[in-house]
């Protein structure tokens, strides 16, 4: 039975993928591609319900079982219920306060923490061992930071920084991006020819 389901899933994935590919490449089959896109959107919407059920089941189980991190789970479930209640009561202003003022402030605080995390990361990189790569990284970091300072005495640093960003950093980034894009193409193609493990097994 599972083999038949696997075969059906493979056939569905291959046919949907090919239809979308033909549609994108030639502009034909627009009604069929639109239908597939609508099905995808509806499925994603349904998946959101699954996500909410998953979230609540994980945290309610933790609360009922009095497991580690119980307080966080209580806060999560209460916040969830509060947002739903405010939506049902039509209290949009209060809901916006929760999202904009509470969540926004917390995210800003976390964003501020990132700087310290990155500085600590640079320190940790050197602590792990002084390698050529680590030295190069630290040198590039220092030049970039010094070049960003608004002092006229450091204009040489600004020029070196601009060159570093425009030439070696840009070349490296493009190389990595080409690699990532090729990985995406090959993985997508593997799914299209029915060789993806998620369907095969």
């Amino acid at each position: 039975m599972s083999r038949i389901i696997g075969l059906l899933a493979t056939a569905l994935a291959i046919s949907s993928g090919l239809i979308m590919l033909i549609g994108l490449a030639t502009g034909a089959l627009s009604s069929l591609t639109n239908l597939l896109l609508q099905i995808t959107i509806i499925t994603a919407g349904m998946a959101m319900i699954i996500g909410v059920i998953n979230l609540l089941s994980v945290h309610l189980r933790r609360i009922i079982g009095r497991e580690r991190g119980l307080l966080y789970s209580v806060a999560l479930v209460l916040s969830f219920l509060l947002v739903i209640a405010l939506y049902v009561l039509g209290a949009d202003a209060e809901r916006r306060i929760l999202l904009r003022d509470v969540e926004g402030s917390i995210e800003s605080a976390l964003a501020a923490l990132l700087v310290f995390a990155l500085v600590y990361g640079a320190y940790r990189l050197m602590r792990r061992g002084v390698t050529w790569a680590a030295l190069l990284f630290t040198l590039a970091l220092l030049i970039t930071l010094l070049g960003a300072l608004p002092f006229s005495q450091l204009s040489v640093m600004s020029e070196i920084r601009a060159w570093m960003v425009a030439v070696p950093a840009s070349a490296g980034a493009r190389g990595l991006l080409i690699g990532i894009a090729l990985a995406a193409v090959v993985t997508g193609m593997r799914a299209l020819i029915g060789q993806e493990r998620a369907y095969r097994e």
Partner: protein
């Protein structure tokens, strides 16, 4: 490009099937360390944490979602011989079935289907505006689950610094497998091991030694060489023209026609 990728993959997979033993993959420290980290987590009786950010089915991230699922599957398969199944935290709801499927297939692969119920460790958290909320919650998930190590895959950007910082403080092993450029840079600096460039997509070839995935890795290498050659040709033409006074351009024009 699509036709070329298809032709290369269609050729590379049979080659990998026939000459599986003869093909040697280059060393990637992140994958070499992954088995050891999973082994250490089994010995410690603590689970692994696999976090997958932004990837999901539908649209551009679909191939990345499949690559991240492969990482989750390989780790879950290695961990399946232990007592604790890995915890998979995802930020996209469409990843939930894929993550469950990875865990299901992992326990099936090692013949421990009796542990299916225990292996259902998937948690979804909404990503927030900049994935910061998801990155921050991973620190809590790692603490609650007492994770021995974390693998951070998907579209993590600069916010990856938060869980990696936490991992370093809690003496957790960490492997960054982000597909985002900023995430890869942060991972290189802060994680114990980082998968750079296209390395995140090679889990099946390195950990599973599956001929289809080895064929894919081979195809990726071939395509990379094709891109390098395509980039080098104009450079050779320009330099050659400067040295020879335009002989190469005249030769190519004569060969392919052009200029009316």
């Amino acid at each position: 490009m699509i036709v070329l990728a298809f032709a290369t993959l269609a050729t590379a997979i049979p080659v990998a099937r026939r000459r599986k033993e003869g093909l040697t993959l280059r060393l990637i420290p992140g994958y070499r360390a992954m088995s050891g980290i999973v082994g250490a987590s089994i010995e410690a009786g603590r689970p692994m944490l696999i976090a997958i950010a932004q990837d999901g089915i539908g649209g551009t991230p679909t191939p990345f979602a499949l690559a991240s699922t492969e990482i989750a599957y390989q780790v879950a398969k290695q961990a399946a011989i232990g007592e604790r199944a890995p915890m998979i935290a995802v930020s996209d709801v469409t990843m939930i079935p894929l993550a469950y499927s990875a865990q299901y297939r992992a326990v099936q692969a090692v013949g421990r289907t009796g542990r299916l119920q225990q292996a259902r460790h998937v948690q979804w958290y909404a990503p927030g505006n900049r994935l910061l909320a998801f990155a921050a919650i991973l620190t809590g998930v790692a603490a609650n689950e007492d994770a021995a190590g974390g693998i951070y895959a998907g579209g993590f950007g600069i916010e990856l610094a938060l869980p990696l910082w936490n991992a370093a403080n809690k003496r957790m092993y960490s492997i960054a497998a982000s597909r985002d450029l900023e995430g890869q840079a942060v991972g290189y600096v802060m994680a114990d091991y980082a998968l750079l460039g296209d390395e995140f997509s090679l889990a099946g070839a390195y950990l599973g030694e599956d001929s289809v995935h080895i064929g894919s890795a081979l195809a990726q290498q071939v395509l990379q060489f094709v891109v390098i050659i395509c980039l080098l040709i104009p450079v050779i033409v320009v330099v050659g023209d400067a040295v020879t006074g335009g002989v190469i351009t005249r030769f190519l024009t004569g060969l392919f026609g052009g200029g009316g």
